[in-house]
Symmetry: C2
Subunit: 209 residues, 2 copies
DNA sequence: GGGTTTAGGATAGTTCCACTATCCTGTTGG
DNA sequence: CCAACAGGATAGTGGAACTATCCTAAACCC
């Protein structure tokens, strides 16, 4: 198929497709002659992926580029790839961050595997940032969160089993990660709102311990 | 104090302060003469608030404007105000959204107060959106999330008791809400990463049910 | 009292992002 | 044969959040 058809089928304007080609988000089609190129199903899938990552997950083009680069990296296994995608979607830090005492405590307790990860870097980064901002995380809150997320993590997000391509796999995981993380936040808001409405709101606080 | 001093003390350029004045984010100072106006501590606090909401919480100027308008609304009590702030920070929907069956189930179970709220609207919005996207939320996941957030909500976020002004109160709550919601997400990521690293990763999935 | 700063207002310019539109040349299908 | 479309290059758009320039008038300082 050629440019116009690709645009029609994907619902992306030819102008935008050209833009994505220029930016290297979408690989070039097979050039037929000086003014024609042939696109395949793979291009269509890639375009769906870009569309989903932009509109549903809200990623910027630079992030999407990193994701597509990871997909196209044959060295990278599926599991590694998923980790990268999760990191992109949740905006996790890639550079190592020294362990915060609270992280060390959590990991040391044997609750979680004691291995470096982007997720752990990000957690450390946030904890350090909270210290810097003069709002240090309280240990008992962390403990409660740990219990909570541990239950949640036990549920497998990914309906990724039946993905036919790495593009589809990534899209499913990215969308799932994003939507379920949003779900967690909204539910927390509902729970807090619910508590705020119940008796015992002591003046200024939003709830009671 | 005058413009320049306000800029120096707050660490915001005079050009930006002028911009905020124009946009109505910062109230005008008391005009002394055609080319002089006097600013107070209240202006300084407001500027700190704007800075915090932008740089820490990442709110856009339109949202910040809504927050400052709420602060300056004398009709609004502190508790109401806090609800608005939480809604702004977490990007909750203001318009009513019809209950999703899953929400109805949660509320009907008596777990949470059965009253409309922005938080509930947002949850409904998200659940409908997930249906539309063909990724409906699974009831058992929702149940696990509910247990989790209920524990978390039991902890009072706000170190807001000792705030001296509504500006300081709002800043404390906004920063707290934002940072603790981020904390929850990062910890979830860590928990998931930890499970992914443990044995039993069945091929493509990220964890086990 | 005159010269240099500065305030405050108005207006225009800048940077970044994600497109979108225009122009041009070169096929190509009917 | 020629309108239509392909692909490439380049420029323009619109929103967000500033930033810079210009101007007049007042004030501080000696």
């Amino acid at each position: 198929m050629q440019l116009k058809e690709l645009g029609l089928r994907s619902g992306v304007s030819t102008a935008s497709i050209k833009f994505y080609l220029r930016e290297g988000l979408l690989p070039r089609g097979r050039t037929m002659d000086s003014s024609r190129a042939e696109y395949t199903q793979a291009h269509l899938r890639r375009l769906e992926l870009i569309k989903g990552l932009r509109t549903v997950v809200g990623l910027g083009l630079d992030r999407i580029k990193a994701v597509t680069a990871a997909i196209d990296d044959g060295q990278l296994g599926d599991v590694e790839l998923m980790g990268r995608v999760q990191a992109m979607v949740l905006g996790l830090a890639e550079d190592p961050v020294p362990d915060h005492p609270l992280t060390a405590g959590l990991v040391g307790s044997g609750r979680w595997v004691d291995a470096p990860s982007q997720a752990r870097n990000s957690l450390n980064q946030l904890l350090h940032r909270m210290d810097d901002l003069g709002v240090p995380a309280r240990a008992e809150v962390l403990a409660a969160y740990a219990d909570a997320v541990d239950q949640v993590a036990a549920l497998d997000l990914a309906s990724a089993e039946q993905a036919g391509s790495r593009d589809e796999l990534v899209l499913a995981v990215a969308v799932g990660t994003h939507l379920y993380s949003q779900l967690l936040l909204k539910m927390l808001a509902v729970a807090q709102a619910s508590r705020a409405m119940r008796p015992g709101g002591r003046g200024r606080g939003q709830g009671a311990p």
